[in-house]
Structures are given as structure tokens and as C-alpha cells.
């Protein structure tokens, strides 16, 4: 366990150093002059922290959903919350209600995520059983996806279309500290809420009927955990757009590391999600393309075959 933690920490350190040193003309970590210092403190540092926070948020949200819904295929996307937050943001931009650099934009995105959670909760009967809430989530996700497509269709000009479409694919470039200060408090609140539910989370090692008789206020605990995922996913969407796959793959990587206790699974998924995103973002910066590749796309391109390879290997052993 200590060894695994050290390996994960070492990975994080190496990737962070690589990330901080990448993106310029040549690899350099220590600032040489004032411009370097500015680039380091105002561009690279917030970018790596934002990437890590986003990965943590998605890793936590994915693992919580997989535990709560008792479905290893659950990921933030299928709850419709990411779609709801993205739809609210894109619709606000389309309506021109607020400017693209306003604080109101992430606030509206967050509200979109929370409203979708409310719908999810009500439509799945307030006592969500695994399969029902997944079906409701898939339906909500399809609706928000279709509405986002409608808004993109109605984009006033090709530039707006490209900007919104790229934002939807997910990226942490050119965000600055403001976005870090947006996601960090939400991450901390979510972690505190997760801590308060640690006994309920641990009890998920038993089957559902047994958990119901272990003395928990189930409806409240489930609602709180769904709220946590809504906060995490919305925070990620409003700061970096839609980044898929991390929420699905991080918990499975943690399982492949041999960590199975529910609380372990959740916190390590957060750490692994953060490391994955920092690594992929560093890679995105080192690949020389005309327009920087979007994070969500690259993660899926690298992560999916990697997951298949790991599953193939673990299946053989």
C-alpha cells in the first residue's frame, strides 16, 4: 500500500515536472528572466494545477458513481450532469447573456449541472436504484447532447462555432488562476462531503438489501453523494469543457493496482485521474500541431487502447 502510494507520487512528480517544463520552444524548468518567470507563474503553473484538479474531480466523480450505481461502466457522462453543465454554458454564450470571460459563465454552468442533478433525482424516484438512475441519466444526457447540437447549429458565425466546439472537447490551456480558484473550493467541499459519508461508502462492499439494514439514512447519503458528483463534474465542465474517459478509466486503473476498499478506490481514483490528466496535457503541449489538440480527444485516443491492453494482460494472468 505504501509502495503503491510512493509509485503514484513519483509518477505525479515526474509528470508535473515534465508538464511545467513543456510548452515553450525548449524544455526549461527554471526561469531565466522576467518573461520566463511570468510564463511559469501565470501560464504553466495554473495550467498544471488546473489539469490536476480536473483529473482529481473526474476520477473522484467516476469512482463514486461506479460504487453508488453498482455499475463498473458508470461514468460522469452517463448521469447527464456534464451535458447539463455544458448545455447551460453554451446556451448562455449563444444568448450573449454574459461575456465569455465573465464569472457568471461558470456560475451558470454549475447551475446547469445542479439542475440536471435535480431532474435526475426526481425522475429516478428519489430512491434511485442502479439501473433506473442510469437510464434516466442516459436520457437526460441524450437530450442535452441534442440541444447542444442545436445551439451549435444556430451559431452566429463559423468562428463562434469552432470556439464552442473546441471548448466542448475539453482543454485547460489559457485558463489562468481564476479557473483554479473556481474548481479548488468545489473540490475541497466535495472531499469534505465524501469524508462525512466514508462509512456509507465503505458499506457498499455489501449488497444493496444488506446496506439498507445497516443503519444509514440511505436517501440522504445517496443524494449527498450524487450532489458531490454534480459539483465535481460541473466544476470540471465549467473550467475545462467536457473531458470524458478519465472518470471511467481512473477507477479501473486503481482496481488493476489491487486497491479494492471503496474509500481507497475513491481517493486513489482521484489521484490517478489527476496524474493522467497532467500527463496527457503535457503530451498535448509537446505534440506540434497547427491548433493545439483538445485534451478530451487525446485522452480517449490514448486511454482506450491502454485500458484494453491492461485488461488483456490482467485477463491472461
Amino acid at each position: 500500500m505504501i509502495l503503491r502510494s510512493l509509485v503514484i507520487l513519483a509518477f505525479a512528480l515526474v509528470l508535473t515536472l515534465w508538464h511545467l517544463g513543456s510548452g515553450g520552444d525548449s524544455w526549461s524548468l527554471l526561469p531565466q528572466n522576467e518573461l520566463d518567470t511570468f510564463i511559469f507563474t501565470e501560464i504553466r503553473l495554473p495550467r498544471v494545477i488546473l489539469a490536476f484538479c480536473n483529473g482529481v474531480a473526474l476520477g473522484l466523480a467516476g469512482s463514486v458513481l461506479q460504487l453508488l450505481l453498482r455499475n463498473p461502466l458508470a461514468e460522469p457522462g452517463i448521469t447527464g450532469i456534464a451535458g447539463g453543465a455544458a448545455l447551460a454554458t453554451v446556451a448562455t454564450l449563444y444568448l450573449g447573456a454574459v461575456g465569455p470571460v465573465s464569472w457568471w459563465l461558470p456560475a451558470v454552468g454549475l447551475l446547469g449541472g445542479i439542475v440536471t442533478l435535480g431532474l435526475l433525482w426526481l425522475l429516478s424516484g428519489r430512491q434511485p436504484q442502479g439501473i433506473r438512475i442510469i437510464l434516466v441519466g442516459v436520457a437526460l444526457s441524450a437530450i442535452s447532447g441534442a440541444l447542444i447540437a442545436v445551439v451549435l447549429n444556430l451559431a452566429p458565425n463559423p468562428f463562434a462555432f469552432q470556439e464552442w466546439a473546441l471548448w466542448l472537447m475539453g482543454s485547460v490551456s489559457n485558463r489562468g488562476w481564476a479557473y483554479v480558484w473556481l474548481i479548488l473550493p468545489l473540490l475541497i467541499v466535495s472531499l469534505v462531503l465524501l469524508m462525512t459519508q466514508r462509512h456509507y461508502i465503505q458499506a457498499q462492499i455489501f449488497d444493496e438489501p444488506t446496506v439498507q439494514t445497516l443503519g444509514f439514512n440511505e436517501a440522504w447519503s445517496k443524494f449527498l453523494l450524487l450532489l458531490v458528483t454534480a459539483l465535481l463534474v460541473s466544476a470540471s465542465v465549467v473550467t475545462a469543457g467536457i473531458i470524458g474517459f478519465i472518470g471511467l478509466v481512473a477507477p479501473h486503473l486503481v482496481r488493476l493496482l489491487g486497491l479494492r476498499r471503496p474509500n481507497q478506490l475513491i481517493y486513489y481514483s482521484g489521484a490517478v485521474g489527476g496524474i493522467l490528466l497532467v500527463g496527457v496535457d503535457a503530451l498535448v503541449q509537446t505534440i506540434d500541431t497547427r491548433v493545439e489538440l483538445q485534451l478530451g480527444v487525446v485522452i480517449a485516443l490514448i486511454g482506450a487502447p491502454w485500458l484494453l491492453l491492461l485488461l488483456h494482460r490482467s485477463g491472461r494472468t
Binding site: Q202, T213, F216, N217, P262
Partner: protein
């Protein structure tokens, strides 16, 4: 003392009235869909919104909080599905969650349970690696480690071989001998006749007979509940089994 008064659940259970005292092994029998699992789930708090009253000593189990209910009873579900290969020791530890006792007491109960169910060599094993019988043994150990005065077991012998069926019933009998009230839903009427102090016979959500096994397991009752005619075959030691009447 457990008192069920006018206990009903829409479409599944109809006005069940019954009284059982501590230290008894009470079997709940009946055909598939007769309401056995519903009855146990309501008492356990796994099924909400039932009508009527369930009194255990002076507590109304239907209307107390999940935390208060937890202090009174332990429930063994019909099937236990384990997805993650968590260790047996983790299951045992987690089974005592929300029980208001000192950690020393809880630890002593766990130790006692490990001894009683011979789990010493299974503690570090993953639950998913164990056989169905061993998994049941672990779950019974968890129930025992909770040390509650009211035990509810929903078909604990289902899909077990004869060896484990008898072991499970022996353990439940031993728990009732310790002064606990054990309510067990059973399909095997021979086991019910052999082990239970009292039986409740349910048919289509209604209690059609209750009392000692020989009063309940009559030809008329069995024909009404199971829609078949059967005969009891007994050997010289009084051990019985059922056979279709020819």
C-alpha cells in the same frame, strides 16, 4: 417479544398478526410469492411504507430511525452478491458499522465470531474467491459479529449443499439458544420441521397457520399453501421428508 399487528404491504402482505418471544427459532414458510421475503424485509427496514405495527420489546420498528433500528436487529439477505474482491476481514469489520458499542466490545464480538465460524484461515482471502457455502458462512459470521437480539434470515439455506444447509440451521438454532429471536424464511419443510420451534405459514400474503411445526404442517394446510397433496415419510429416528402422495 416481537409483536406484528395488522402488518400489510400493498399487493404483497395482508393483515399479518403474530407474536413471538425471544429465544425461539421461528420459521416463515409458504410457496414462492407468498410474502415470506416481504415480511422479513419489512421487519428489517429494507422495505419501507408498510402499514401496521412491528413492536420489538417497546420499540416500534416501522417508525424508528434507521440508526435506532440498527441497534435492534441483524438481517441476512436471500442472496449476497459480491462484485469487488474485498477481504473477509474487511467485511467482518464493516458489518459492525453504526453499532453503538465501544471498539473493545466490537473487537471481542468479531473475535468470537471468527472462532465460532472457523474463519481464521479465510480472513485475508478475497470474498469473491470463496465458494457459495463459504460466502454464506462469512455472512453468518458478520451477522453473529453484530450481536443483535433479533435476527432475520431470508432463505439462508438456498443453493447450499446438504452439509452447509445443516450447518446453517445448526448455527441459527444455536443463536436462538443464546436468547435471540431468530426469524428464518425457509423453503425446505423438512428442515423447518426439524429445527424450528414455531412456524408461520403464509399463502398469497396472508397468514393461514402458525404455531408448533406439527400443528402447522398438516395435510390441509400444505394442500392450501402449496396446492399439492403430500405425505410425510419418517424413519425410525423420527427424521422426516415429504413425498408426493401417490
Amino acid at each position: 417479544m416481537l409483536e406484528l399487528t395488522n402488518l400489510s404491504y400493498p399487493k404483497r402482505l395482508n393483515n399479518v398478526n403474530y407474536c413471538a418471544s425471544a429465544g425461539r427459532l421461528v420459521g416463515v414458510i409458504g410457496a414462492n410469492g407468498s410474502g415470506k421475503s416481504t415480511l422479513l424485509s419489512i421487519i428489517a427496514g429494507a422495505l419501507k411504507k408498510a402499514n401496521g405495527e412491528v413492536k420489538w420489546h417497546s420499540d416500534d420498528l416501522l417508525h424508528c430511525s434507521p440508526s435506532e433500528q440498527r441497534q435492534q436487529l441483524a438481517y441476512l439477505a436471500q442472496k449476497n452478491e459480491f462484485r469487488e474482491p474485498v477481504r473477509v476481514s474487511d467485511l467482518l469489520l464493516t458489518s459492525q458499522v453504526n453499532i453503538k458499542e465501544s471498539s473493545a466490545t466490537l473487537s471481542a464480538w468479531r473475535e468470537r465470531s471468527i472462532d465460532e465460524f472457523h474463519l481464521g484461515n479465510l480472513l485475508s482471502r478475497a470474498i469473491t474467491e470463496l465458494s457459495g457455502g463459504e460466502q454464506r458462512r462469512v455472512m453468518l459470521a458478520c451477522i453473529y459479529a453484530m450481536n443483535r437480539s433479533l435476527l432475520l434470515a431470508d432463505e439462508p439455506t438456498a443453493s447450499l449443499d446438504l452439509h452447509y444447509q445443516l450447518l446453517v440451521m445448526d448455527w441459527l438454532k444455536a443463536m436462538s439458544k443464546e436468547g435471540k429471536l431468530v426469524l428464518v424464511a425457509l423453503h425446505d419443510l423438512a428442515l423447518a420441521a426439524q429445527y424450528c420451534d414455531e412456524l408461520l405459514l403464509l399463502n398469497e400474503g396472508q397468514l393461514i397457520a402458525s404455531g408448533e411445526p406439527n400443528q402447522v404442517l398438516t395435510d390441509t394446510n400444505l394442500a392450501a399453501a402449496y396446492k399439492v397433496s403430500v405425505d410425510w415419510l419418517c424413519n425410525s429416528n423420527g427424521v422426516a421428508m415429504l413425498a408426493r402422495r401417490l
